[in-house]
């Protein structure tokens, strides 16, 4: 019996020592691009930290973040779950054809907040309309809705049909319903990334065309719809890939309006001016969707000086948005002389007052974010 015991004990001891020593001798990683967050560094050891419990808490986080082979462990777990037929890993559905889709169930979707935001939007729309400013609201459906046929069988989702119905009822003709166009277009190329929660350039192009059609510009809408695409990257692995870390998901391509790539515009972001909305350095990094504007800011201003077919665009557009708008803006450059984007997650000013300087306002949110954010239009807001 001795040998049998010895084999087991040695293996277990070796395993723990390997983990332990390995974790401490390998250098710490400061940033995890897959998670898009800074990892916890070494905790500081002193009496105060020990007594208030922060040393203990930090050490737990430090060891979890820096444990040797961390990414490999996570990949191993994802593979195990996938092999066991578990189709929802870390809040993501694994669908057919290597597609990942964000999982939003009834308990994730905050219906009360969704309704509050709709009510505030309706009030804001009314105030603007009185001043002659037209307001459009576009909610981007979830990928789970558009690709419902690709979801795992019986996968749980929230009542998105009901949410759109409610938006339509409350916002009336200010609401732009793009669901059918996206579903119709999905057979001619991806409208959502397979590895990221955003829509693709093609999806955003449909959003832009639908908006222009709603703004009573059928000509421009049909032009936008056909706008030529330029490939930016074919190596994109987005946020959903990061959540499951499964190589079986493959990679996505990022494409955008070829016309916008060459357009002569001025972009002002946080006091700095740029001559393009593309930040190509992000194409070399993990978070490639940030190629549009380099990410999200409270306010971005774009002067287009655009003309299409000799007609100088004169309208000024205010876009109130989340990150879904970033890839849609390139398709609108020719139709507005100036576009300002405000991101309600960061913007602290009074949006109603800001809107007075514009001819038209567009709200673009993924339906899921619209239920998550607290969107307030009047008064400066300290969130």
């Amino acid at each position: 019996m001795k040998k049998r015991s010895l084999i087991l004990i040695s293996a277990a001891a070796a395993f723990i020592l390997l983990l332990s020593i390995g974790t401490f001798v390998t250098p710490d990683v400061a940033f995890s691009p897959d998670e898009n967050r800074y990892l916890t560094g070494k905790p500081e050891l002193n009496t105060k930290n020990i007594l208030d419990g922060s040393f203990e808490k930090r050490s737990e986080e430090y060891l979890s973040d820096q444990i040797i082979g961390r990414k490999k462990w996570v990949e191993f777990k994802g593979l195990t779950e996938a092999a066991l037929g578990i189709n929802d890993i870390n809040g993501v559905y694994l669908c057919t054809e290597g597609r990942a889709v964000e999982r939003v169930t009834e308990s994730d979707f905050d219906r009360v907040n969704f309704e509050k935001n709709l009510r505030r939007t309706a009030e804001f729309t009314e105030i603007c309309n009185e001043q002659g400013i037209k307001v459009h609201t576009m909610l981007v459906p979830t990928a789970a809705y558009v690709y419902a046929d690709k979801l795992p069988d019986h996968a749980l989702t929230f009542d998105e049909e009901g949410a759109f119905k409610q938006a339509e009822d409350m916002l009336e003709d200010g609401f732009i319903d793009i669901r059918n166009s996206l579903i119709a277009a999905k057979y001619n190329g991806e409208v959502y990334f397979k590895t990221d929660h955003h829509w693709t350039g093609k999806g955003a192009r449909i959003g832009a065309a639908e908006f222009l059609a709603a703004a009573a510009r059928p000509d421009q809408a049909s032009l936008a719809e056909k706008e030529e695409m330029e490939l930016l990257s074919s190596e994109f692995r987005g946020t959903l890939y990061s959540k499951v870390l499964l190589k079986t998901l493959g990679t996505d391509i990022i494409e955008t309006s070829a016309h916008a790539r060459a357009a002569d515009i001025k972009v002002e972001i946080e006091g700095k001016e740029y001559d393009s909305l593309y930040f190509d350095e992000y194409l070399e990094q993990k978070d490639k969707y940030a190629v549009y504007f380099g990410g999200n800011y409270s306010e971005v201003n774009i002067k287009t000086g655009a003309a299409r077919d000799g007609h100088k665009a004169e309208e000024k557009l205010l876009v109130i948005k989340d990150s879904f708008a970033n890839s849609m803006i390139p398709f609108l450059l020719d139709d507005f002389s100036e576009i300002t984007m405000v991101d309600t997650r960061f913007y602290r000013g009074d949006i109603s007052r800001l809107a007075e300087d514009y001819d038209r306002v567009l709200l673009v949110y993924s339906v899921n974010n619209f239920a998550k954010e607290k969107i307030v239009f009047t008064g400066s807001l300290l969130k």
Binding site: L19, F76, D153, L156
Partner: protein, 466 residues
């Protein structure tokens, strides 16, 4: 600190084992000191002020034990029980009592919001059993405070049991040897417990969490959720006991078993002989029997059963649903005692199994949902309040978690143990082969568990870092 954390596994455990085994076995006091120091660190991790409560508890019961041993005075015994219960009552039940008073009398008393020091329910019961046993003359008082402190704080069983009685470990505290077989057995038990906790309990919990958050569940989905919780609490709790027993073995302690396949019971009476055995036997020994047990006539016995079960419920948590849960079992046990048990014995085994499992699952719903209104709503869904038999929620979780459910079912029976012992018997003459197979199996469980544990901290942000 908990066992299923990186700090425990890759820092605390290796250092403690190293420090412990560097000291030669003959210096038992030094080994006890290492264990005591390590246990205090383990206990105070994150909340060092709790060490003071612990030290108070050690000193108080040490003195009570000495006094009780010297003159067998009833006053000392009462002082000890009152002191321990006051400690437990203050930390665990103050808010609960005030809240109840507020609700009944609309007194509007402010709740102090006292945080519960971990493990206090376990170690106050341990120390009480010690002083009572000394008073009864069952064991001798421990004169060495380090040895006594080691008994009270011993980290393997400190925060989630089993409730180890002093009389069961008195000999081991002053003289114990560890041999390779015992350590290997400890490693096996620890890994099995770790796997039960991380691979089964934590995973099946997702099903309960998701389903219990929904409204209007179909009958099958409501049952699936309740069954998921039934598995979760068993593998969580018994996994923790396995880890405790395993670690105890590595340090040379033999603890009594705490679970004995409770879900294969054929009656609720049997279930409570197999579930959290150290708690049931504690209540039996120190509450039920002193109250007179079954020796003072049937009506007195029924009252005694009721008292024990209200207390058992309350021990599990300071909330009315736990009291309800205790009362629920008290009533079932009384009914069984009054004759149902005899009827069940005459029925085919399958009847007893189904009867027991249904009542156990319903019991866990009362236990898991801490609001009585919600308990009623959930039980209503199990009885068909939605008027739908099955829905997507059921089909999705049942299909996607089918292997997990199968593993949980098999893991609740002695089957894996039987298969392993058959293999071990067959390979008796080929020790190295057996050792290798066993090591691959156990290290596999360990590695899978680590993967799931590490992934728990892996948390991608969908949006840009703030």
């Amino acid at each position: 600190m908990v066992f299923s954390s990186s700090v425990f596994l890759i820092v605390f455990l290796p250092i403690t084992l190293l420090a412990y085994f560097i000291v030669p076995a003959r210096f038992i006091k030094a080994r006890n000191s290492v264990l005591l120091a390590a246990s205090l660190v383990f206990y105070g991790w994150g909340e060092p002020k709790y060490i003071l409560i612990m030290i108070f508890s050690i000193v108080f019961n040490y003195v009570c034990g000495l006094a009780a041993g010297k003159n067998r005075s009833k006053a000392v015994l009462i002082l000890c029980v009152v002191g321990n219960l006051a400690l437990l009552g203050y930390f665990k039940y103050t808010d609960f009592v005030l809240e109840t008073v507020n609700r009944l009398a609309e007194a509007g008393l402010a709740l102090p919001g006292i945080a519960l020091p971990i493990g206090i329910s376990f170690y106050t019961f341990q120390t009480m059993s010690y002083v009572i046993d000394v008073y009864r003359g069952k064991v001798e008082a421990q004169r060495d405070i380090i040895t006594f402190g080691t008994y009270v704080t011993l980290f393997p069983q400190l925060i989630a049991g089993p409730i180890v009685r002093y009389s069961d470990v008195a000999v081991m505290l002053v003289g114990r040897k560890t041999n390779l077989e015992q350590i290997a057995e400890g490693v096996r038990r620890f890994i099995i417990g770790f796997g039960k906790k991380v691979l089964l309990a934590n995973q099946i919990y997702v099903v309960w969490m998701e389903l219990s958050a929904m409204e209007n569940l179909s009958v099958s989905a409501a049952w699936l959720g309740a069954v998921a919780f039934t598995f979760q609490i068993y593998f969580d709790f018994s996994g923790y006991s396995d880890m405790a027993i395993g670690l105890g073995k590595i340090f040379g302690f033999d603890y009594l078993e705490n679970f004995n396949y409770p879900y294969i019971s054929r009656s609720i009476t049997e279930f409570w002989r197999r579930w959290h055995m150290s708690l049931s036997s504690w209540f039996k020994e120190y509450v039920y029997i002193p109250l007179g047990g079954n020796r003072k006539g049937l009506s007195r016995q029924l009252i005694n059963i009721s008292i024990v079960w209200i207390l058992t419920g309350l021990w599990h948590g300071a909330s009315w649903n736990f009291v309800m849960w205790g009362v629920y079992y008290g009533i079932i046990l009384i009914i069984e005692k009054l004759g149902l048990l005899k009827v069940l014995k005459k029925c085919p085994a399958v009847v007893g199994h189904i009867y027991s499992l249904i009542l156990i699952v319903i019991g866990w719903v009362i236990f898991a949902v801490d609001d009585m209104g919600k308990v009623a709503a959930y039980l209503g869904m199990m009885l068909g309040s939605s008027q739908v038999f099955t829905d997507d929620a059921f089909i999705y979780f049942f299909e996607s978690r089918i292997w997990l459910l199968i593993a949980c079912v098999i893991g609740s029976t002695p089957l894996p143990k039987i298969v392993c012992s058959i293999i071990a018997e067959k390979l008796e003459d080929r020790e190295v082969l057996l050792g290798t197979i066993e090591t691959v199996l156990f290290m596999g469980i360990f590695a899978f568990s680590m993967a799931f544990l590490v992934s728990g901290s892996y948390n991608p942000f969908l949006y840009f870092r703030f």
